[in-house]
Structures are given as structure tokens and as C-alpha cells.
């Protein structure tokens, strides 16, 4: 059996559903194909942040602003808050070296219009009375926000389906071929074939395997993130928290950061975010272990120990669950978004690593504009998958 469509989106996570949703709104007949169930991939095993402070000044930060606006209109369109919250965020600074780097980083972010500042111990104590005394300073931005990934995906799927989008789950893509008229034939596990002139590879961590089917180089590596979830507790402080350590390692590979064994071997850094269910999501590791999605005792223990270092008060709080997801990481920390040179009609929208939730609506919107051949946006050249074509 063959399904004909205008666009086939491969991958039904938050990025694929966003692409499908915005393409459908542009009048395209879209089929979204997924090998697994709802939220089986990274979109179902992550935190819920629309985080500005972690973004390098540049395209990722700019797109986060635009994505936040799109989330506002999406909430209005589906008439649902989608778990949106705006608690603000603090990045915790532990020594002079981190302070200098973060001060420079904050001033760059401010020049891009981000409302962020460095605050002193007294201010910190007001916002976070339980924080360990060894924190010497912190950044603070009231813009950092949250949205429930599951609610967003359900909204994209429901609203998109009401506009005519079709979603097929538990039926993986097994092959892609191109026929005489330029159309793609995408075959799936159960034998169903889908035909369309445009294919969008939004398979996240698995996008490399889809790319291979058409000879496109999509260098995405799974990076495992383990997260633990606490029992329901009253708010520990006003804002969500991160450690500067991770940002500093990410921003300045010329600087040697003082890391302990866990931080080095598991890429451990501190992320502490309050969920809509009054629990906290505490992370996280960043490990290269192939496609192994398991949690480990070592990882969970390291997260617990690190948490107690920042928030000793949590000693008496139980954690109720641990999850792990495979974040799609790229060599340069930026997503792949665009059409592959020499493979007309084949687009990739993947490789968001930890920014998938924040950047989902803008990714779908920009992708839809590209597919509809809107006038080009040169800012996006640096996201083109062709930057990896000859690697």
C-alpha cells in the first residue's frame, strides 16, 4: 500500500511534530513517520527548559527568543497553557576563574538583548536560601522559562491532525529511494510505502541512520543524559539552577576547569529545575555510550552527591525515579537545518542536543519556510547540513 503526500517527516519527537505541524499550517499534506511510540526518544526523557542562559550569543540565542514568541502563539492557538512557567534561572559560580568567564559571557548575552545580570551572595541568599555557602556569585535571568514537552507534543499532534496532518507510529523507516520524477519512496517495516517530493529527516539521535539511506552525511552522536526526579516537595528556592562549570567547559575549551572525577568521566554538571508536578528534575550526565539508554548506579549516585554539594538541605528528600535520554549532539554544538546539496528535496532538521524543547517551534517554522521556498534567511547558513557534506 502506498500513501502519497507533499512532505514526509521522519521522526515524531518534538522536532518532527513541530515540522509536521507548521508544514501542515502552510497547506502541505504531511505524513509523520516514527519507529517508536509517543515520546519514546529524547523528547520524552529530558527537562522542560526554554533556557536562554546556556545559549552562546549568536544564532542559538536569537532563535530561542523567536521560539519563546512562537510558544506564546501556540498556547493561544491550542487554548492550553502547555505547562508554561517562568521561574527564571541562576547559574552558580564557584570560583574567581568562573566569575571572570561568566561576567564576560553575561555581557555578550546582554548585547544580544538578554535580560541577565551577575548577582552577589546577598542577592543569591534572598532567591535561594538553601544554597551552599561556597557559591561566590551567580547569574540571574528572569527570562528562563519552562514548558511541558509532553503537552507540547500532544498539542502539535492533536492540532496538526485536526488540520489534516497524519502520524504513523511503531513503524520504522527501512529504506528510501528516489524515482524518475524526483519523488522519494519511503518504505517502512510493515511494508507500507510513502511517496512524496520532499522528505524531512527529523529523526533526532537516529538522524544519521536516515541520512545514510540517501547518502547524506548527518554527523549526529548520541549523548546520554541521566536525570533523577525527586518526590513532591515545596519550592526549595525561587528559580531554577545550573552550575557555571558546565557552561565554562562548553564555552571555553582553552580554559582548564577544575573538575572532579565524576564531572570529567560522565560530563556531569548541575541542573535543577522544578516541574509542574511539584517535583524537581535534577541532572545531568553527558556521556558518550552509543545507543545505550540505561541509567547507571554510578550516574545516579554522582547526581545525588553533586546535588548535596549545592543544596545540602536535599539530604532528606527522596528521589523517586531516574531516566536517561539520548541527546542528538553535533560536532559544533549547532543543529542541522536545511536541504542537502545534491539531494534535492531532502532536508534535515535534527541535532539539537539539549535545546530541542527550547527550539522546537522555531525549527518547525523555519523548516516549513524552507520547504515552501520562502526567500532565504542568511542567518541560517551556518546551520546548513552542507557544512558537514565533505567531512
Amino acid at each position: 500500500m502506498t500513501h502519497a503526500a507533499d512532505v514526509l517527516v521522519i521522526g515524531g519527537g518534538i522536532i518532527g511534530l513541530s515540522c509536521g505541524f507548521y508544514l501542515t499550517k502552510r497547506g502541505k499534506r504531511v505524513c509523520v513517520l516514527d519507529s517508536g511510540g509517543f515520546a519514546d526518544g529524547a523528547s520524552g526523557a529530558c527537562d522542560d527548559m526554554i533556557l536562554f542562559q546556556s545559549k552562546k550569543p549568536g544564532i542559538n540565542l536569537e532563535l530561542t527568543f523567536e521560539s519563546l514568541e512562537l510558544y506564546k502563539s501556540l498556547r493561544a492557538e491550542v487554548d492550553d497553557n502547555l505547562g508554561f512557567a517562568n521561574l527564571g534561572g541562576m547559574v552558580l559560580i564557584e570560583n574567581q576563574q568562573e566569575l571572570e568567564i561568566m561576567e564576560e559571557f553575561v555581557s555578550q548575552q546582554r548585547s544580544y538583548g538578554l535580560d541577565v545580570e551577575v548577582i552577589d551572595k546577598r542577592e543569591i541568599h534572598k532567591k535561594q536560601p538553601f544554597l551552599s555557602d561556597h557559591i561566590i556569585a551567580s547569574t540571574y535571568s528572569k527570562m528562563d522559562s519552562q514548558i511541558d514537552p509532553f503537552a507540547v507534543m500532544r498539542a502539535f499532534e492533536r492540532k496538526g491532525s485536526s488540520y489534516g496532518m497524519k502520524v504513523f507510529r511503531r513503524n520504522g523507516v527501512v529504506g528510501i529511494e528516489r524515482i524518475g520524477n524526483g519523488d522519494y519512496l519511503v518504505s517502512t517495516q510493515d511494508g507500507t510505502v510513502f511517496q512524496a517530493p520532499i522528505v524531512v529527516n527529523a529523526a533526532g539521535t537516529w538522524a544519521g541512520q536516515i541520512g545514510e539511506m540517501v547518502g547524506a552525511n548527518v554527523p549526529i552522536t548520541p549523548k546520554r543524559g541521566q536525570i533523577i526526579i525527586t518526590e513532591r516537595v515545596p519550592p526549595i528556592g525561587e528559580t531554577n539552577l545550573w552550575s557555571a562549570k558546565y557552561l565554562v567547559t562548553k564555552l571555553r575549551n582553552d580554559v582548564v576547569v577544575d573538575l572532579n572525577e565524576d564531572e570529567r568521566s560522565m560530563g556531569l554538571s548541575f541542573a535543577f529545575t522544578r516541574s509542574g508536578g511539584d517535583t524537581y528534575l535534577v541532572g545531568s550526565t553527558r556521556e558518550y555510550v552509543g545507543f545505550d539508554k540505561g541509567t547507571t548506579i554510578g550516574g545516579i549516585r554522582a547526581i545525588i552527591n553533586q546535588t548535596l554539594k549545592y543544596l545540602p538541605r536535599l539530604r532528606d528528600v527522596n528521589f523517586i525515579r531516574a531516566i536517561a535520554g539520548l541527546r542528538p549532539s553535533t560536532p559544533d554544538g549547532r543543529m542541522l537545518l536545511g536541504e542537502h546539496a545534491g539531494i534535492d528535496g531532502f532536508f534535515t532538521a535534527a541535532g539539537h542536543e539539549g535545546d530541542g524543547i527550547a527550539l522546537a517551534p522555531i525549527t518547525g517554522t523555519l523548516l516549513a519556510a524552507m520547504v515552501c521556498r520562502d526567500p532565504g534567511d542568511h542567518r541560517l547558513d551556518e546551520l546548513s547540513p552542507n557544512r558537514f557534506a565533505n567531512l
Binding site: 540505561g294 541509567t295 547507571t296 548506579i297 545516579i300 549516585r301 531516574a322
Partner: protein, 363 residues
Amino acid sequence: MMERDIVVIGSGPAGLCAAIEAAEAGAKVLLVDENAKPGGQLFKQIHKFFGSREHSAGVRGIDIGTLLLQKAEELDIEVWLNTEACGIFDQDKVWVVRDKSTSLTIHAKRIILATGANENVVNFPGWTLPGVMGAGAAQTMINIHRVLPGRKILMIGSGNVGVIVSYQLLQAGAQVKAVVEAAPQLGGYGVHTAKVRRAGVPFYTGHTVLEAHGTDHVESAVIVKLDAAWKPIAGTEFSVDVDTICIAAGLTPAVELAFGAGCRSVNSPVLGGLVPWHDESMRTSIPSIYIAGDVSGVEEASTAMEEGRMAGLSAAHSLGYLEASRYRSRFEAINHNLLALRSGMFGQKRRDAKEAIMAARKG
């Protein structure tokens, strides 16, 4: 790393029997439980059990529990209470936290999960008010802690748990104002149901609770009649003056450890939903992990005990502790008991469901 032949998680009827059976075969067993006392739900079962003589029919659950604990002590089984099992890693490592303070990893050549089940809830406006609780929780309060949860009770659900707990609440001195059952017919065994009915408690089949009222505690509940499609019929609402609403709406297997470990799941609507796939020997899709009792599909305590014996026997056998002939004869005996428990009007349905789980493709 500390090593044991078999770590049994959960010391209810299934876990206790598994530990005893394995220890009798010669295996070095560690039994862990998160509670301060062993026995799981057995020690609140003050009613007499059904079944055949081999299943201690006519004996009260509380007495069966005492016998099993004596047996475990005679066999010198190592028991860790106040010990939470947090996870299973690499198929054979059990991570536990003792006394909320000491974190330990144990290498277990075999693991038997006897984690039981959790009570289902029914959601209605007011269901989070203090005074709304699981029927099992109410039973723990009266039979273990000797505390009455309230004076005027509404029971939701007429299955065995609903009627047994209703009767015990009456015995404990509470008033049971009504038993409400959404299905068109009653769900519990006649003998338990009749005792409650004889005490004058009204039963409302084809009814459900619409909402609970109260400022900081349940003060009343509104009950409504349901049509054939289980939709409330407007105009049939009436209010009952209660301070406690007990929910006996079935149980869901406590499968978190099993699925966290990677055991393959099978859906069994009759036995409570998703359960780990297992074979007749109670082995899951992970060869080092066995299950027993409600976690393998919700049945009742006698079956849980037999399943525990089967899991303990098979786990010990897989470690070379029993000769083939002894294993075979014991296996047959336990299997015979299980079949007996799963026969008759109520049992056959469970037997069919159990066989469907075992027949599902091994993953």
C-alpha cells in the same frame, strides 16, 4: 561488592515463600523489605483464607504470616528491613538503601522480585480531600495500627477487598454507610458479601460516587446511578453523610523495578495491566530475574505463596542447588497447587490470563 546467591525483594507472602523454598534447597538468600516489619499485607488479613487444605484454608492470614516468619528464622534467612531497593543494574546488581542512610550494591546471582501491587484510585471532584483513601490503607490503619480512619464510611467497590475491609471496619466499630459498585453486579465472594449485607449495609450496584464535599475533610459524598453505558443519570444523585471514603478499585502490579531492569512486558487486563513476561518457573525475559505474587499479575495471597515457592525453587535449581529429580517432583507439586487455586468459577479466568502471559512471545 557483597555477593548473595539470591536476593528476594519484598517480604510479603510471595517473597517469604520464595526465600524459604530457596533456603531449603541450600541457597544463600537475602530477603529485603522497605517496611519496618516483614509479612507484606499478610498481617492485616485477619479473615480466614479459602482454598484447599494445602493452602492453609480456614487459617487466618495473620497466623500464616507468623508461621512463615518462624520458618524463615529456623532456616536462618538473612532479612534486611527498612531497606529500599532502588534499582537493578546490569541484570544482577541490586542497589539498596538501608535505614535511609546506607547505600549498598549487592551482586545477586539471582533476583526474585516479589514487590506486590499498588491500589488503584478513582478520581472525582474532592478525591484529594483528607478522608479519601485506599481500602487497603484503611485496613492497615485498623488491623495493624489499631486506628479508626473515620466513623462513617463509604466503600467504593464491592470486590473481595471492598467487602472484607467493610466488614472489618464494622468490627472495628465504624459505621459503613454504603457500598457502591459501578458494575451492574457485585464483585466479591458471596460469604464475605453476605456478612456485610447481614449487618444491614446497603449495596448500590450500577452506582458511582460523583463527588465528595467538605472544607478540610470529607463531610459528605454524592452518589449517582449509572446507565448501561456507565454514564451518570442526571436527577438520580443523592447525598450520604460520611467522613471517610474508601476506594477498593483493584490493584496494579508494582512493576517499576522489573521494567527498570529491562524485563519485557506483556499486557494482561484481567491481572492488572502490564506485567513482566514470565514462564512457568516464574523466570522473566532476563534469565537472572524471577518474579512472584501480585507483581506477576494480581491474584490473591495463596497463589502468591505458591508462585513464591516456584520462583525460589527454580532460582535455586538454576544455581545447581537441586538434583533434577527433586526439582522435577517439587515443581510438579507446586504447579499442581497453582492449578487447583486457578480452577473453578473465579479461578479459570485467572488461569487463562496467566497462560496467555506465558504464551506471549519471549522478548
